[in-house]
Symmetry: C2
Subunit: 147 residues, 2 copies
DNA sequence: GCATCAATCGACATCTAGATCCATTTATCC
DNA sequence: GGATAAATGGATCTAGATGTCGATTGATGC
């Protein structure tokens, strides 16, 4: 498993929201049925995304959630950070308390090489890419099933 | 968290074993104190590595564990596969039941790009690199602390 | 053969991410 | 202002990953 379930849900929800015209709020309930994410769990994830300034929420009648910024300005790394999922900094796979570039543990080199890859990917990928690749009407049709 | 705790332990144990001269078996107990991995848990991880033909074990007096092959012939991907940790194939981050290159979900493209990176890293990195970078006497000295 | 050493195995405890439920707050519409 | 819609927040439940324990099996040396 590359990322946690929560992180995956966050990406899914954001990806979906990126495909609807910006400015029209989507209700958590609708988002839940569309994406297959359990409703109560989704609302918690959404809340964290609001706190991270990636979404804005509107309570009451006609309310819902929408992107706080244009999709092109939301890189994946911000989404992952918003739901934790993106530490690995400072942690050492070898169990050393102190492990940095100055005093690297044996795994440090290869480990940070992987980290760089992931960081690069998460920084250079943004929601607009998803929105471009996916026509909301065609490809977002009901999931066949979700396990 | 990029990989599970178990996977991290597996890498640690293998990395350590790669730094001792091949042919001399290391006891699980010793490996446990050296790496800071809980002893009984470690032995479960080791067993899985044995089943995956990455380690050989020797019972009784003078027994222990050692690499089944030269370090250079053990890529990380085999270690990760041995302790699960390496599926992501077939799973779809979007919750679609069917998601392949022919019928990709909206996240499919960027997702598999990340997968490729990780796969490339895990395949091209082997234990020899670790052994080369780490002198067993100097850099493997007692972990300062482990959380 | 017997004692000892070390891996193996199964059962059990604990901890945490994931998921659910329900009461509360805030906004909108009439 | 009252009814309704929708997000918010806390408390709780559950399953799976993590970690522990004790007993067993197999190998070695004497």
């Amino acid at each position: 498993m590359i990322v946690s379930q929560t992180a995956e849900y966050a990406l899914r929800a954001m990806a979906w929201l990126a495909t609807v015209p910006r400015g029209e709020p989507i209700r958590a309930t609708d988002l839940s049925t569309s994406t297959g994410i359990p409703p109560h769990y989704l609302s918690k994830v959404l809340r964290r995304l609001v706190l991270a300034d990636l979404l804005v929420s509107q309570k009451g009648q006609g309310g819902g959630f929408m992107l706080a910024r244009p999709a092109a300005e939301i890189p994946f790394i911000e989404i992952l950070s918003a739901v934790d999922a993106y530490p690995t900094e400072g942690r050492c796979a070898f169990g050393w308390g102190t492990c940095d570039d100055a005093h690297p543990c044996p795994l440090h080199g290869v480990w940070s090489r992987l980290n760089d890859h992931i960081h690069e990917w998460a920084s250079s990928t943004n929601l607009q890419e998803i929105a471009d690749g996916a026509c909301a009407d065609e490809r977002f049709v009901a999931p066949v099933e979700h396990e």
